[in-house]
Amino acid sequence: MGGYGDVKLLREDGLRLDGRKVDEMREVEIEAGILPAADGSAWVKHGLNVAVCAVYGPMEAHPRKIQRQDRAVIDVRYNMAPFSTSDRIRPGYNRRSREISKVTAEALESVVLVERFPRSKIRVEIEILAAEAGTRCVGITAAAVALADAGIPMRDLIVGVASGKIEDTVVLDLDKAEDNYGQADLPMGILPTTGEIAFLQMDGDLSFEEYNTCMEYNLKAAREIHVLMIDALKRRYLEKNGGEA
């Protein structure tokens, strides 16, 4: 069934190598408004992944050829820091970061009310400081919090989550070993309030039943992360405000 036959990813007791249950997420921490120079910003730690996102705008779209007369364009730049992985990454744009920037922009366009800002551009800069599988999902989550923090009108927040398959077992939130040696990976961007899916990619093979289990896990995780996102956004103002609303 594909994969790397001899790599053990599940322990005898049914838990995963890092001790998580199959439907257990890595620990997530979120902070909003960490960058004073940006219009909106967020910091997300998801397991060992660390992402920082800054949002600027809306501003006049330049170069002019990217302007849309009826809506704003979202300009996403996803970038991994050279020190984010064990092998140094060559700084700058590459094929992978271009792809992730593009799919992230498309996912965000479905939640941001882009038609409110014709001819404008909203710049979203996602910087991955530490990577441990699932950075595109962490980037999407960070971007959603940063956009909300910047006061950009949105239909909903969007949460990036992933499930996958290791040793013929569906698991939630793959870590690095599971991502590298597992059989499938299904990252998704979910609108937690309505349960809509704004972004979906699949790497590897999943049966229909396995796919449904992944969906179920992802929706569950999205709701959990959504609570943390709201908490981060509210904490920013309520704490400074002496806890009163």
Binding site: Q69, F117, R155, L191, Y237
Partner: protein, 228 residues
């Protein structure tokens, strides 16, 4: 307006959060009707007023509306028009016909050059966000002296107070001319001491403008200045 959050029924909401049923209520600014619910589209304080549910955003970009008094900074000059940064997503355009001077074609720079600051009004905004400014009107002019600084959009009402009461007090104790423009820019002119006092006030607005304790802190500052 963050100043309105002293009311008991206000609550902090985030995008996507349901803030009421759509039947019987109208969706105001910062909200959207989705199915049978009204949802918030911004982080801010949800409120209901005369059957209109709306969200006062905590952080928002300046969106020009016609009639706004704004402070603009000239960004580029053409033969017969100026482009000004109005602290919004798009530059404002000031045509020669709406400027207070009669200037020959090509001599626009002689009146106002890049970096100059102007007090202007928004003449019109079209659906594509083209902003036209005017400097024809009482008090509209090029600001040649004084200092300009920026505060966040949602703090404007706190600096002004009810019916401009706070602003009047500040003008009186600082002995400065102060203009709080609709685009979040504040112009202050007076003696050095007065300007320094206004700087501390603006710092307070920036750092504590969203807090419930803001008015008390500002009162203390004004009181201090009166007794000094």
């Amino acid at each position: 307006m963050s100043g309105a959050k002293e009311g008991a029924e206000l609550r902090l909401v985030t995008p996507g959060e349901a803030i009421g049923a759509s039947s019987g209520a109208r969706a105001g600014t910062g909200t959207l009707i989705m199915g049978d619910k009204i949802i918030a589209t911004r982080v801010g304080w949800a409120k209901e007023n005369n059957g209109v549910t709306s969200v006062d955003p905590i952080h928002a970009a300046y969106m020009p509306r016609s009639g706004d008094l704004i402070i603009g900074v000239v960004e580029s000059v053409r033969n017969n028009l100026w482009f000004a940064d109005v602290n919004g997503p798009f530059n404002g355009l000031l045509p020669m016909s709406l400027a207070p001077w009669k200037v020959e074609f090509g001599a626009a720079r002689e009146q106002m050059d890049i970096g100059d600051v102007m007090l202007a009004r928004v003449q019109e905004v079209d659906e594509a966000h083209n902003v036209v400014l005017t400097m024809k009107g009482v008090g509209l002019r090029r600001l040649k002296e004084g200092v300009m600084s920026e505060i966040s959009m949602n703090h404007i009402s706190r600096l002004r107070g009810d019916a401009d009461s706070t602003l009047r007090q500040l003008k009186e104790v600082s002995d400065c001319r102060v203009i709080v423009a609709e685009n979040g820019r504040v112009w202050v002119d007076g003696d050095a001491d007065g300007i320094a006092f206004m700087r501390t006030v603006l710092d307070l607005v920036r750092n504590e403008g969203h807090m419930a304790t803001f008015n008390a802190s500002l009162e203390a500052l004004i009181e201090n200045r009166r007794n000094a």
